[in-house]
Chain length 255, copies 2
Protein backbone atom coordinates (compact mmCIF):
# COMPACT_ATOMS: atom_id res chain seq x y z
CA UNK A 1 0.00 0.00 0.00
CA UNK A 2 1.34 3.39 -0.97
CA UNK A 3 1.99 5.78 1.92
CA UNK A 4 -0.28 8.74 2.22
CA UNK A 5 1.33 11.93 0.94
CA UNK A 6 3.55 13.64 3.52
CA UNK A 7 2.78 17.36 3.79
CA UNK A 8 4.99 19.82 5.67
CA UNK A 9 3.21 22.95 6.86
CA UNK A 10 4.89 26.09 8.15
CA UNK A 11 4.40 29.87 8.21
CA UNK A 12 5.87 33.13 9.45
CA UNK A 13 3.01 34.27 11.70
CA UNK A 14 3.82 31.56 14.23
CA UNK A 15 2.43 28.16 15.12
CA UNK A 16 -0.49 29.66 17.04
CA UNK A 17 -1.72 31.91 14.23
CA UNK A 18 -5.23 31.45 12.92
CA UNK A 19 -4.00 31.10 9.33
CA UNK A 20 -1.86 28.01 9.93
CA UNK A 21 -4.57 26.38 12.05
CA UNK A 22 -7.18 26.79 9.33
CA UNK A 23 -4.71 25.63 6.70
CA UNK A 24 -3.95 22.50 8.71
CA UNK A 25 -7.64 21.67 9.07
CA UNK A 26 -8.38 22.09 5.39
CA UNK A 27 -5.43 19.88 4.30
CA UNK A 28 -6.00 17.22 6.98
CA UNK A 29 -7.56 14.59 4.69
CA UNK A 30 -4.97 15.01 1.91
CA UNK A 31 -2.09 13.28 3.72
CA UNK A 32 0.00 12.93 6.85
CA UNK A 33 0.67 16.41 8.12
CA UNK A 34 3.67 17.72 10.00
CA UNK A 35 3.30 21.31 11.16
CA UNK A 36 6.70 22.77 12.06
CA UNK A 37 6.44 26.50 12.58
CA UNK A 38 8.01 29.39 14.50
CA UNK A 39 7.06 29.80 18.15
CA UNK A 40 5.91 33.37 17.50
CA UNK A 41 5.58 35.98 14.74
CA UNK A 42 8.44 36.12 12.21
CA UNK A 43 6.88 38.41 9.62
CA UNK A 44 9.25 39.95 7.10
CA UNK A 45 11.99 37.44 7.81
CA UNK A 46 12.50 36.64 4.12
CA UNK A 47 14.94 33.74 3.69
CA UNK A 48 16.83 34.65 6.88
CA UNK A 49 18.72 31.82 8.57
CA UNK A 50 19.83 31.53 12.18
CA UNK A 51 23.52 30.73 12.39
CA UNK A 52 24.98 32.75 15.29
CA UNK A 53 22.80 31.04 17.90
CA UNK A 54 21.40 27.49 17.94
CA UNK A 55 17.75 26.69 17.30
CA UNK A 56 15.48 24.38 19.28
CA UNK A 57 12.08 22.79 18.78
CA UNK A 58 9.30 21.22 20.83
CA UNK A 59 6.59 18.69 19.94
CA UNK A 60 3.37 20.45 20.92
CA UNK A 61 0.75 17.94 19.87
CA UNK A 62 0.46 14.54 18.24
CA UNK A 63 -2.73 13.01 16.96
CA UNK A 64 -3.51 10.57 14.14
CA UNK A 65 -2.25 12.11 10.91
CA UNK A 66 -1.02 15.40 12.42
CA UNK A 67 2.08 16.28 14.44
CA UNK A 68 2.63 19.89 15.48
CA UNK A 69 6.02 21.34 16.43
CA UNK A 70 7.07 24.78 17.59
CA UNK A 71 10.55 26.06 16.69
CA UNK A 72 12.68 28.94 17.99
CA UNK A 73 13.96 29.82 14.53
CA UNK A 74 12.84 31.70 11.44
CA UNK A 75 10.66 30.14 8.72
CA UNK A 76 13.66 28.88 6.72
CA UNK A 77 15.15 27.33 9.87
CA UNK A 78 11.85 25.52 10.39
CA UNK A 79 11.94 23.98 6.92
CA UNK A 80 15.61 23.01 7.18
CA UNK A 81 15.29 21.54 10.66
CA UNK A 82 12.11 19.61 9.90
CA UNK A 83 13.59 18.10 6.74
CA UNK A 84 17.00 17.35 8.26
CA UNK A 85 15.95 16.12 11.70
CA UNK A 86 12.24 15.33 11.97
CA UNK A 87 10.89 13.79 8.79
CA UNK A 88 11.78 10.25 7.81
CA UNK A 89 11.35 11.01 4.11
CA UNK A 90 11.16 13.99 1.79
CA UNK A 91 7.72 15.63 1.94
CA UNK A 92 5.52 15.37 -1.14
CA UNK A 93 4.40 18.94 -0.58
CA UNK A 94 5.25 21.99 1.50
CA UNK A 95 2.60 24.61 2.18
CA UNK A 96 3.55 27.85 3.94
CA UNK A 97 0.86 30.09 5.37
CA UNK A 98 -1.81 31.13 5.37
CA UNK A 99 -0.14 34.48 5.85
CA UNK A 100 -2.18 37.29 7.34
CA UNK A 101 -1.24 39.98 4.79
CA UNK A 102 -0.37 39.96 1.10
CA UNK A 103 2.86 38.76 -0.50
CA UNK A 104 2.34 39.87 -4.07
CA UNK A 105 4.80 41.84 -6.23
CA UNK A 106 8.23 42.46 -4.63
CA UNK A 107 6.91 41.25 -1.25
CA UNK A 108 8.04 37.82 -2.40
CA UNK A 109 11.52 39.06 -1.42
CA UNK A 110 10.65 40.26 2.11
CA UNK A 111 8.17 37.59 3.11
CA UNK A 112 8.98 34.86 5.62
CA UNK A 113 6.03 32.90 4.26
CA UNK A 114 7.66 32.89 0.85
CA UNK A 115 11.13 32.35 2.39
CA UNK A 116 9.84 29.00 3.64
CA UNK A 117 8.42 28.13 0.22
CA UNK A 118 11.73 29.08 -1.43
CA UNK A 119 13.58 26.85 1.04
CA UNK A 120 11.23 23.95 0.33
CA UNK A 121 11.93 24.40 -3.36
CA UNK A 122 15.71 24.51 -2.78
CA UNK A 123 15.29 21.19 -0.92
CA UNK A 124 13.48 19.79 -3.97
CA UNK A 125 10.01 19.73 -2.38
CA UNK A 126 7.03 21.01 -4.42
CA UNK A 127 6.28 24.19 -2.45
CA UNK A 128 3.48 26.73 -2.20
CA UNK A 129 3.17 29.95 -0.19
CA UNK A 130 -0.37 31.19 0.53
CA UNK A 131 -1.23 34.71 1.67
CA UNK A 132 -4.38 36.72 2.29
CA UNK A 133 -4.24 40.37 1.26
CA UNK A 134 -6.46 41.38 4.14
CA UNK A 135 -4.87 43.26 7.04
CA UNK A 136 -7.93 43.50 9.30
CA UNK A 137 -7.83 41.72 12.64
CA UNK A 138 -10.82 39.46 12.02
CA UNK A 139 -9.82 38.50 8.47
CA UNK A 140 -11.47 35.25 7.35
CA UNK A 141 -9.41 32.51 5.70
CA UNK A 142 -12.31 30.63 4.07
CA UNK A 143 -11.49 31.53 0.47
CA UNK A 144 -7.79 30.92 1.13
CA UNK A 145 -8.59 27.41 2.31
CA UNK A 146 -10.84 26.73 -0.65
CA UNK A 147 -8.24 27.79 -3.24
CA UNK A 148 -5.25 26.59 -1.25
CA UNK A 149 -6.70 23.12 -0.93
CA UNK A 150 -7.51 23.01 -4.62
CA UNK A 151 -3.96 24.05 -5.49
CA UNK A 152 -2.42 21.61 -2.99
CA UNK A 153 -4.35 18.71 -4.59
CA UNK A 154 -3.25 19.85 -8.02
CA UNK A 155 0.43 20.01 -7.00
CA UNK A 156 0.25 16.63 -5.22
CA UNK A 157 -1.10 15.15 -8.45
CA UNK A 158 1.07 16.97 -11.02
CA UNK A 159 4.20 18.01 -9.11
CA UNK A 160 6.18 21.12 -10.03
CA UNK A 161 9.28 21.60 -12.20
CA UNK A 162 12.55 21.42 -10.24
CA UNK A 163 13.49 24.90 -9.04
CA UNK A 164 9.96 26.34 -9.33
CA UNK A 165 7.68 27.28 -6.40
CA UNK A 166 4.26 28.92 -6.27
CA UNK A 167 3.11 32.21 -4.75
CA UNK A 168 -0.67 32.24 -4.17
CA UNK A 169 -2.37 35.42 -2.95
CA UNK A 170 -6.07 35.70 -2.14
CA UNK A 171 -7.97 39.00 -2.16
CA UNK A 172 -10.16 40.12 0.78
CA UNK A 173 -13.51 39.31 -0.84
CA UNK A 174 -16.23 36.90 0.23
CA UNK A 175 -16.15 35.07 -3.10
CA UNK A 176 -12.98 34.88 -5.21
CA UNK A 177 -13.95 34.92 -8.90
CA UNK A 178 -11.29 32.52 -10.14
CA UNK A 179 -7.55 31.94 -10.00
CA UNK A 180 -5.28 33.71 -12.48
CA UNK A 181 -1.72 32.70 -13.37
CA UNK A 182 0.21 35.96 -13.13
CA UNK A 183 3.62 37.55 -13.36
CA UNK A 184 5.19 39.35 -10.41
CA UNK A 185 4.23 43.04 -10.55
CA UNK A 186 7.08 45.50 -10.99
CA UNK A 187 7.16 48.34 -8.49
CA UNK A 188 8.32 49.36 -5.03
CA UNK A 189 7.17 50.81 -1.75
CA UNK A 190 7.37 54.58 -1.28
CA UNK A 191 7.29 56.87 1.79
CA UNK A 192 8.56 53.99 3.84
CA UNK A 193 9.15 55.50 7.30
CA UNK A 194 7.10 57.17 9.95
CA UNK A 195 9.22 59.14 12.41
CA UNK A 196 8.31 58.87 16.05
CA UNK A 197 10.28 59.14 19.27
CA UNK A 198 11.28 56.90 22.13
CA UNK A 199 10.86 57.57 25.84
CA UNK A 200 14.10 59.57 25.90
CA UNK A 201 12.81 61.85 23.14
CA UNK A 202 15.18 60.42 20.51
CA UNK A 203 13.89 59.83 16.98
CA UNK A 204 12.93 56.30 15.96
CA UNK A 205 11.67 55.12 12.57
CA UNK A 206 8.78 52.74 11.92
CA UNK A 207 8.54 50.90 8.63
CA UNK A 208 5.37 51.75 6.73
CA UNK A 209 4.85 52.86 3.11
CA UNK A 210 2.53 52.09 0.26
CA UNK A 211 3.12 50.09 -2.89
CA UNK A 212 3.66 51.98 -6.11
CA UNK A 213 3.12 49.83 -9.20
CA UNK A 214 5.73 50.57 -11.85
CA UNK A 215 4.37 52.01 -15.09
CA UNK A 216 3.39 50.67 -17.55
CA UNK A 217 1.40 48.18 -15.52
CA UNK A 218 1.45 44.79 -17.23
CA UNK A 219 -2.10 43.37 -17.58
CA UNK A 220 -1.03 39.94 -16.31
CA UNK A 221 0.52 41.17 -13.07
CA UNK A 222 -0.48 39.87 -9.67
CA UNK A 223 -1.56 43.13 -8.04
CA UNK A 224 -4.03 43.84 -10.84
CA UNK A 225 -5.60 40.38 -10.60
CA UNK A 226 -6.03 40.80 -6.83
CA UNK A 227 -7.53 44.26 -7.25
CA UNK A 228 -10.06 42.74 -9.65
CA UNK A 229 -11.12 40.09 -7.11
CA UNK A 230 -9.13 37.14 -8.49
CA UNK A 231 -6.66 34.92 -6.67
CA UNK A 232 -3.19 35.49 -8.15
CA UNK A 233 -0.81 32.60 -8.69
CA UNK A 234 2.79 33.40 -9.67
CA UNK A 235 5.17 30.54 -10.50
CA UNK A 236 8.64 31.62 -9.32
CA UNK A 237 12.20 30.45 -9.89
CA UNK A 238 15.00 29.73 -7.39
CA UNK A 239 17.50 30.57 -10.11
CA UNK A 240 17.51 34.36 -10.27
CA UNK A 241 20.14 34.60 -13.03
CA UNK A 242 19.38 37.27 -15.63
CA UNK A 243 20.21 35.13 -18.66
CA UNK A 244 19.26 37.87 -21.12
CA UNK A 245 21.90 40.21 -19.72
CA UNK A 246 24.80 37.74 -19.42
CA UNK A 247 26.21 38.29 -22.90
CA UNK A 248 25.94 42.07 -22.76
CA UNK A 249 27.55 42.15 -19.31
CA UNK A 250 30.42 40.12 -20.68
CA UNK A 251 30.95 42.69 -23.43
CA UNK A 252 30.72 45.68 -21.05
CA UNK A 253 33.39 44.17 -18.81
CA UNK A 254 35.76 43.76 -21.74
CA UNK A 255 35.50 47.43 -22.80
CA UNK B 1 29.57 71.37 -12.79
CA UNK B 2 28.14 67.87 -12.55
CA UNK B 3 27.94 66.44 -9.05
CA UNK B 4 30.28 63.63 -8.20
CA UNK B 5 28.57 60.24 -8.25
CA UNK B 6 26.77 59.42 -5.01
CA UNK B 7 27.64 55.93 -3.77
CA UNK B 8 25.75 54.18 -0.96
CA UNK B 9 27.76 51.50 0.84
CA UNK B 10 26.32 48.92 3.21
CA UNK B 11 26.89 45.33 4.31
CA UNK B 12 25.68 42.59 6.64
CA UNK B 13 28.84 42.10 8.70
CA UNK B 14 28.32 45.45 10.42
CA UNK B 15 29.75 48.94 10.08
CA UNK B 16 32.96 48.01 11.94
CA UNK B 17 33.83 45.01 9.77
CA UNK B 18 37.12 44.99 7.91
CA UNK B 19 35.39 44.29 4.59
CA UNK B 20 33.30 47.46 4.54
CA UNK B 21 36.24 49.58 5.69
CA UNK B 22 38.47 48.35 2.89
CA UNK B 23 35.63 48.73 0.40
CA UNK B 24 35.08 52.33 1.49
CA UNK B 25 38.78 53.16 1.08
CA UNK B 26 39.01 51.64 -2.38
CA UNK B 27 35.90 53.50 -3.66
CA UNK B 28 36.78 56.83 -2.00
CA UNK B 29 37.96 58.62 -5.13
CA UNK B 30 35.03 57.46 -7.27
CA UNK B 31 32.39 59.71 -5.70
CA UNK B 32 30.72 61.01 -2.56
CA UNK B 33 30.30 58.06 -0.24
CA UNK B 34 27.61 57.43 2.33
CA UNK B 35 28.22 54.35 4.45
CA UNK B 36 25.00 53.27 6.18
CA UNK B 37 25.42 49.85 7.73
CA UNK B 38 24.18 47.69 10.61
CA UNK B 39 25.63 48.35 14.06
CA UNK B 40 26.76 44.71 14.34
CA UNK B 41 26.74 41.42 12.44
CA UNK B 42 23.58 40.60 10.46
CA UNK B 43 24.81 37.61 8.48
CA UNK B 44 22.16 35.43 6.87
CA UNK B 45 19.47 38.11 7.19
CA UNK B 46 18.45 37.80 3.54
CA UNK B 47 15.91 40.52 2.61
CA UNK B 48 14.49 40.60 6.15
CA UNK B 49 12.80 43.84 7.18
CA UNK B 50 12.19 45.21 10.66
CA UNK B 51 8.54 46.10 11.13
CA UNK B 52 7.54 45.06 14.66
CA UNK B 53 10.03 47.42 16.35
CA UNK B 54 11.34 50.78 15.14
CA UNK B 55 14.86 51.29 13.80
CA UNK B 56 17.33 54.03 14.69
CA UNK B 57 20.58 55.35 13.27
CA UNK B 58 23.59 57.40 14.37
CA UNK B 59 26.09 59.49 12.43
CA UNK B 60 29.47 58.03 13.42
CA UNK B 61 31.87 60.07 11.35
CA UNK B 62 31.85 62.84 8.77
CA UNK B 63 34.81 63.84 6.68
CA UNK B 64 35.13 65.31 3.18
CA UNK B 65 33.48 62.93 0.74
CA UNK B 66 32.55 60.26 3.30
CA UNK B 67 29.76 60.07 5.90
CA UNK B 68 29.44 56.94 8.02
CA UNK B 69 26.24 55.90 9.80
CA UNK B 70 25.43 52.98 12.06
CA UNK B 71 21.88 51.57 12.05
CA UNK B 72 20.02 49.25 14.42
CA UNK B 73 18.29 47.41 11.58
CA UNK B 74 19.03 44.69 9.06
CA UNK B 75 20.78 45.34 5.73
CA UNK B 76 17.51 46.01 3.87
CA UNK B 77 16.44 48.45 6.61
CA UNK B 78 19.74 50.27 6.11
CA UNK B 79 19.14 50.72 2.39
CA UNK B 80 15.52 51.79 2.86
CA UNK B 81 16.27 54.22 5.68
CA UNK B 82 19.29 55.78 3.95
CA UNK B 83 17.36 56.31 0.71
CA UNK B 84 14.18 57.54 2.40
CA UNK B 85 15.66 59.72 5.15
CA UNK B 86 19.36 60.49 4.66
CA UNK B 87 20.22 60.98 1.02
CA UNK B 88 19.13 64.10 -0.83
CA UNK B 89 19.06 62.28 -4.17
CA UNK B 90 19.00 58.75 -5.51
CA UNK B 91 22.46 57.15 -5.35
CA UNK B 92 24.22 56.43 -8.63
CA UNK B 93 25.48 53.16 -7.22
CA UNK B 94 24.97 50.89 -4.23
CA UNK B 95 27.75 48.53 -3.18
CA UNK B 96 27.11 45.97 -0.44
CA UNK B 97 30.03 44.19 1.19
CA UNK B 98 32.69 43.16 1.15
CA UNK B 99 31.16 40.12 2.82
CA UNK B 100 33.45 37.84 4.78
CA UNK B 101 32.22 34.53 3.27
CA UNK B 102 30.85 33.48 -0.11
CA UNK B 103 27.41 34.23 -1.53
CA UNK B 104 27.46 32.11 -4.65
CA UNK B 105 24.77 29.64 -5.78
CA UNK B 106 21.60 29.59 -3.61
CA UNK B 107 23.34 31.71 -0.95
CA UNK B 108 21.99 34.68 -2.90
CA UNK B 109 18.71 33.84 -1.13
CA UNK B 110 20.09 33.72 2.43
CA UNK B 111 22.63 36.52 2.26
CA UNK B 112 22.11 39.88 3.95
CA UNK B 113 24.81 41.30 1.69
CA UNK B 114 22.72 40.33 -1.33
CA UNK B 115 19.49 41.37 0.44
CA UNK B 116 20.86 44.92 0.49
CA UNK B 117 21.79 44.71 -3.21
CA UNK B 118 18.31 43.39 -4.04
CA UNK B 119 16.76 46.29 -2.11
CA UNK B 120 18.94 48.79 -3.95
CA UNK B 121 17.74 47.29 -7.21
CA UNK B 122 14.09 47.45 -6.12
CA UNK B 123 14.68 51.15 -5.39
CA UNK B 124 16.04 51.56 -8.93
CA UNK B 125 19.69 52.02 -7.92
CA UNK B 126 22.38 50.12 -9.87
CA UNK B 127 23.47 47.65 -7.18
CA UNK B 128 26.32 45.24 -6.58
CA UNK B 129 26.97 42.75 -3.77
CA UNK B 130 30.59 41.71 -3.21
CA UNK B 131 31.68 38.66 -1.22
CA UNK B 132 34.92 36.86 -0.47
CA UNK B 133 34.72 33.06 -0.37
CA UNK B 134 37.32 32.89 2.36
CA UNK B 135 36.19 31.98 5.88
CA UNK B 136 39.54 32.34 7.66
CA UNK B 137 39.86 35.03 10.32
CA UNK B 138 42.67 36.93 8.66
CA UNK B 139 41.18 36.84 5.15
CA UNK B 140 42.61 39.58 2.92
CA UNK B 141 40.30 41.76 0.84
CA UNK B 142 42.91 43.00 -1.65
CA UNK B 143 41.62 41.12 -4.67
CA UNK B 144 38.02 41.97 -3.73
CA UNK B 145 38.92 45.67 -3.76
CA UNK B 146 40.73 45.39 -7.07
CA UNK B 147 37.83 43.66 -8.84
CA UNK B 148 35.10 45.46 -6.91
CA UNK B 149 36.51 48.85 -7.83
CA UNK B 150 36.81 47.85 -11.46
CA UNK B 151 33.19 46.68 -11.49
CA UNK B 152 31.96 49.77 -9.64
CA UNK B 153 33.59 52.02 -12.26
CA UNK B 154 32.08 49.95 -15.02
CA UNK B 155 28.55 50.19 -13.52
CA UNK B 156 28.90 53.93 -12.85
CA UNK B 157 29.78 54.37 -16.52
CA UNK B 158 27.31 51.91 -18.12
CA UNK B 159 24.49 51.56 -15.58
CA UNK B 160 22.47 48.35 -15.26
CA UNK B 161 19.12 47.32 -16.76
CA UNK B 162 16.13 48.14 -14.50
CA UNK B 163 15.44 45.17 -12.23
CA UNK B 164 18.92 43.64 -12.56
CA UNK B 165 21.59 43.56 -9.83
CA UNK B 166 25.04 41.97 -9.69
CA UNK B 167 26.44 39.25 -7.43
CA UNK B 168 30.27 39.32 -7.39
CA UNK B 169 32.20 36.60 -5.55
CA UNK B 170 35.98 36.49 -5.18
CA UNK B 171 37.91 33.27 -4.49
CA UNK B 172 40.52 33.03 -1.70
CA UNK B 173 43.58 33.26 -3.92
CA UNK B 174 46.39 35.81 -3.98
CA UNK B 175 45.81 36.58 -7.65
CA UNK B 176 42.38 36.22 -9.28
CA UNK B 177 42.85 35.05 -12.87
CA UNK B 178 40.00 37.06 -14.40
CA UNK B 179 36.29 37.74 -13.93
CA UNK B 180 33.73 35.36 -15.45
CA UNK B 181 30.08 36.14 -16.11
CA UNK B 182 28.26 33.13 -14.65
CA UNK B 183 24.88 31.62 -13.95
CA UNK B 184 23.77 30.79 -10.41
CA UNK B 185 24.77 27.21 -9.59
CA UNK B 186 21.94 24.78 -8.89
CA UNK B 187 22.26 22.80 -5.69
CA UNK B 188 21.60 22.87 -1.97
CA UNK B 189 23.23 22.41 1.40
CA UNK B 190 23.17 18.95 2.98
CA UNK B 191 23.72 17.67 6.54
CA UNK B 192 22.67 21.03 7.81
CA UNK B 193 22.59 20.62 11.59
CA UNK B 194 25.03 19.77 14.33
CA UNK B 195 23.30 18.66 17.51
CA UNK B 196 24.70 19.96 20.76
CA UNK B 197 23.17 20.71 24.14
CA UNK B 198 22.55 23.72 26.33
CA UNK B 199 23.50 24.17 29.99
CA UNK B 200 20.34 22.35 31.08
CA UNK B 201 21.27 19.32 28.97
CA UNK B 202 18.54 19.95 26.39
CA UNK B 203 19.31 19.46 22.69
CA UNK B 204 20.06 22.50 20.56
CA UNK B 205 20.81 22.60 16.84
CA UNK B 206 23.53 24.62 15.12
CA UNK B 207 23.28 25.41 11.44
CA UNK B 208 26.18 23.97 9.45
CA UNK B 209 26.21 21.83 6.29
CA UNK B 210 28.12 21.68 3.04
CA UNK B 211 27.08 22.68 -0.45
CA UNK B 212 26.13 19.95 -2.87
CA UNK B 213 26.20 21.09 -6.50
CA UNK B 214 23.26 19.64 -8.43
CA UNK B 215 24.19 17.30 -11.27
CA UNK B 216 24.82 17.83 -14.09
CA UNK B 217 27.03 20.78 -13.16
CA UNK B 218 26.69 23.50 -15.78
CA UNK B 219 30.12 24.70 -17.01
CA UNK B 220 29.15 28.37 -16.68
CA UNK B 221 28.07 28.17 -13.04
CA UNK B 222 29.51 30.42 -10.34
CA UNK B 223 30.85 27.75 -7.98
CA UNK B 224 32.94 26.18 -10.76
CA UNK B 225 34.45 29.54 -11.74
CA UNK B 226 35.39 30.23 -8.12
CA UNK B 227 36.91 26.77 -7.70
CA UNK B 228 39.05 27.47 -10.76
CA UNK B 229 40.39 30.73 -9.29
CA UNK B 230 38.17 33.18 -11.18
CA UNK B 231 35.93 35.89 -9.78
CA UNK B 232 32.30 34.98 -10.55
CA UNK B 233 29.80 37.64 -11.58
CA UNK B 234 26.12 36.65 -11.78
CA UNK B 235 23.59 39.18 -13.07
CA UNK B 236 20.34 38.58 -11.18
CA UNK B 237 16.71 39.59 -11.57
CA UNK B 238 14.27 41.07 -9.04
CA UNK B 239 11.44 39.54 -11.03
CA UNK B 240 11.49 35.86 -10.07
CA UNK B 241 8.51 34.86 -12.27
CA UNK B 242 8.96 31.53 -14.04
CA UNK B 243 7.69 32.70 -17.44
CA UNK B 244 8.36 29.34 -19.07
CA UNK B 245 5.97 27.58 -16.69
CA UNK B 246 3.09 30.08 -16.75
CA UNK B 247 1.22 28.56 -19.69
CA UNK B 248 1.61 24.98 -18.48
CA UNK B 249 0.48 25.97 -14.97
CA UNK B 250 -2.59 27.55 -16.47
CA UNK B 251 -3.44 24.29 -18.25
CA UNK B 252 -2.81 22.14 -15.15
CA UNK B 253 -5.19 24.29 -13.11
CA UNK B 254 -7.95 23.84 -15.67
CA UNK B 255 -7.76 20.03 -15.65
Amino acid sequence: MKDKPLILITNDDGVNAKGIKELTECLRDLGDLVVFAPDGPRSGMSSAITSLIPVTYTLLKEEPGVRIYSCSGAPVDCVKLAVNNILDRKPDLLVSGINHGGNMAVCVHYSGTMGAAIEGCILDIPSIGISLTDYTEGAGFGECCRWGRKLARCVLREGLPAGTYLNLNIPPVSHVKDIKVCRQAAGRFINEYMQSENAAGDPVYWLTGCFDNAKPIHPENDTLALDAGYASLVPCRIDVTDYDFMQKLHLILKD
